[in-house]
Amino acid sequence: MMFRFEVNPSLCTGCRTCELACAFTHTKNQKPGRSRIYPIGYAKDEYVPVTCLQCDEAACIKSCMFDALRRNEETGAIELNLERCVKCEACVAACPFGCALIDNVHEEIVKCDLCGGSPACAQFCPTKALEYKKIA
Amino acid sequence: MRIESIDQLNQWREKCRTEFEAQKRRILICLGTACRANGAIEVYEEFKKVLAEKNINDVSVEAVTKTGCHGYCALGPLVILEPEGTFYTKVKKINIPEIVEKTIENGEIIQRLLYKDANTKKRVADYNEIPFYARQQRIALRNAGNIDPNQIEHYIAVGGYQGMAKALTQMKPQEVIDEVSKSGLRGRGGGGFPTGRKWATCAKVESDIHYVICNGDEGDPGAFMDRTLMGSDPHSVLEGMIICAHAVGSIKGYIYVREEYPLAVINLKKAIEDAREFGLLGDNILGSDLCFDIQVNRGGGAFVCGESSALMKSVAGEIGEPRAKYIHSVVQGLYNKPTVLNNVESFATVPMIIEKGADWFTSFGTPKSPGTKVFSLAGKIMNSGLVEVPMGITLREIIFDIGGGIPNKRKFKAVQTGGPSGGCLPAEKLDLPCDFDSLTAAGSMMGSGGMVIMDDRTCMVEIARYFLGFLVMESCGKCVPCREGLYQLYQLCTKICEGKGTEEDLELMEKLSKTIEIGSLCGLGKSGPNPFVSTLLYFRDEYLAHIRDKKCPGGVCRNLITFTINDDCTGCLACIKACPTEAITGEKKKKHILDQELCTQCGSCYAVCKFDAIDIT
């Protein structure tokens, strides 16, 4: 069974609820993590939520010299093993969509892990601009 | 010429033996490292020159044979005249014409060049009657000093490669392993691990390749057994390795020799070339299925590279640092392949075990440590040199009967066995039998067989400090207990030697030693605190004298001693001339006066005084 984000930018109001949901889902040591998703404005009052696309041929996996990024075959997410990560920022530089990020609070690299199968961002999106849907 | 079968080998042996024995008169000149340093090469050249000029019947220039080390290094350069076995010591170039004229031409023995027994004051002509040799039982050193290490024909003539031939043609690999196991041979490098068991484990591991390595990285201060063996009888080491290769199914062997042993490297390389030429190394040795070749690897002189896993890393071209051996190197050794690593002496012994049988070998030594062991005697001992004795012989026999005791009528204080990681044993332990288990039980170890003898003018704290200093320098630095722990132990020891130590320091040192012993990664680290631990065990009072009384009973630690001139002073002025700080004043034939303010405790006066008039307290 495959799931995929469905984005409908015309519904996005730029309310940034997805950001909050992501940050709090990734709370560590009582501090929210850096959000892995951002609604970005492309015109006046027009937004589109941008997050990791879990590319099939992912540049982040390729660029990691230490094998810290691996695909979770169950969820399809490319997950970062922080125990193996050296913070060399190769993935940050390599991702063509700019979706591997540096979390300065926790001093680590972060990227979308699909919250283990049910992304909080999609759950909390009030306008359904972002949905996580089963596809045929 | 390639030897293709055992018959060809035997024919060749006959030929070599005939040629070897044709030389009735043989002039053996020891060209071991110590004799070389004393001018043996000059002696050798001079002999050839004089003989060539004289042109004596039956004694050609070929009679002059340069041999490897004969063991009695204290008396070098050594010259032995066969067939009588006349043993000349401290031979100089100027003695040669006289030796040729008197002894070789007229059979007259030159008394003053003979060995003089210190006790009986008698001169001894035949070296077999000299106590140093009479008490020895030479198995590993069987050919050392008797043959030219660079001539494979000599080795063949005295029965070399016979053990290998027997193993390859008459014995299955398992039978070789069984024989070695039965002989009870234990690793001569120090560990004392049963060689047969090591081979058996390695042979059982399935792999595309097995390696055989000979450990010639002898690094203990005062130890030179392996150097001598490799330099004087390199073929015996090769033969042992070939037998091992047959037993474990190896095709590639390495000999790891330290760069500081140039003679051993040269002789080994020559031996390997010769063995290859005659087909004793290479493909299908003696027509058997065994294909085996050996390569010499030179070590850069790191003490730690004598540790098996560090040695293998070094052979593989990596930094010579040990790894944790939770998986043994017989299973995963060089290049992660099963590897047998044995010491030079172990390999040199193996051919004799195969040739003469395990029962013959076990007739020497003790039940748990069969056979013989080569010891090197160094330090404050009359006969410094190399001896091979049956296991189980007491320290007293080695040091006093064979070694001739302590020079200058001083008293024996301690003997260090097993190198820096071994321990110092006091006079009470002199009747301890020298075998693996007894030495370990006494808080020391067999080690590779180095013995450093110390007299009563030795400070045991200073000795511990010296060897700790050595280990601090030689620690590889990979793990903390060894790198930092030994450094701190050394610092604390220095503090005690300077008279600044406290009893709390001693406690801290004991605690630290325990952690280093348990916590270190390799054997070097684990045994690193031994110089301290073993001296503390037997000489605690000496440590306490340094700490409580601020005195050095050995009269060595400069901060804790005072020099005084006693009434034996004859007023000879020698000390006045020797004193670098002009602390001694006086007139001829009057007792000299030493100014304590100016004295730096350098000991120069003590060294030059012929009348024991300097007291050190």
Binding site: I40, Y42, M65, P96, G98 | A324, M473, S475, I518
Partner: protein, 241 residues
């Protein structure tokens, strides 16, 4: 290895030289534990758990008196060697050590010689730095103490260092580490520094990642994604109108 199992079970065993991205080497000795087995008849051994293979029937004690004593002594030694390291100080304080019992090492730096830096460089495939000299004089250094020819300025060594000894500096588009200067790629849109040119080239060559991925920073790349998606939406709206 044993350490992973111990940690999985939630037992806290300290370690400084251990990192998942590199092979264990057992140099810090802090993860030492006591092991035994029923059939060993009471015989015990002390091993570094980062290197010891997991075996059936192994009985592991992580906090015996002896083990704690070893850890304390080692931390005490570290305090003498690295008097300025906060990481070491914090760890030692947990074991009740506030001041070293030993002589502070002269010219002490905070390097604990754990080889994490050299090991990570090896994994990267460069081995630009190595341990040189022996024993107490040992230091981590580039070949011949010179500018390391193989270094690509990725900072992996500096990031992995448990005591933060390896210093680097990014200034005016230039990165300096091991006395070697590297050109930093600057984002062609906003001018932000990305990674060193040599590191990017290495990834491009080794892992066949398109070079143009490295031209812009992550922020500008996300903005670009938004722009592209937005233009699709705009066009769709125009079409429907």
């Amino acid at each position: 290895m044993l350490l992973a199992v111990i940690r999985r079970e939630g037992v806290d065993v300290p370690a400084l030289c251990e990192h998942e991205a590199i092979e264990p080497c057992g140099s810090c000795r802090l993860c030492m534990v006591e092991i035994t087995k029923k059939e060993w008849d009471g015989w015990k051994n002390h091993v570094t758990s980062c290197l010891y293979p997991v075996e059936d029937g192994l009985i592991v004690s992580t906090h015996t008196d002896q083990v704690m004593e070893i850890r304390k002594t080692i931390l005490d030694l570290y305090m003498a060697r690295c008097p300025g390291s906060e990481v070491i100080q914090k760890m030692a304080e947990e074991y009740g050590i506030y001041k070293t019992s030993y002589i502070t090492v002269p010219d002490a730096d905070n390097c604990i010689m754990c080889y994490a830096c050299t090991r990570i460089c090896e994994v990267l495939g460069k081995s630009a730095i190595a341990a040189v000299e022996r024993g107490h004089r040992k230091v981590i250094a580039p070949p011949f103490g010179d500018v390391p020819p193989d270094c690509i300025g990725c900072l992996s060594c500096a990031h992995i260092c448990p005591t933060d000894v390896i210093k680097w500096n990014d200034e005016d588009g230039t990165r300096t580490i091991w006395k070697k200067n590297f050109e930093l790629i600057t984002c062609k849109e906003c001018g932000k520094n990305i990674i060193s040119r040599e590191f990017a080239d290495y990834i491009i060559e080794k892992r066949e990642v398109p070079a143009e991925y490295f031209e812009t920073c992550d922020d500008c790349k996300r903005a670009e994604v938004a722009r592209k998606m937005g233009s699709l939406v705009t066009r769709a709206k125009e079409v429907s109108l």
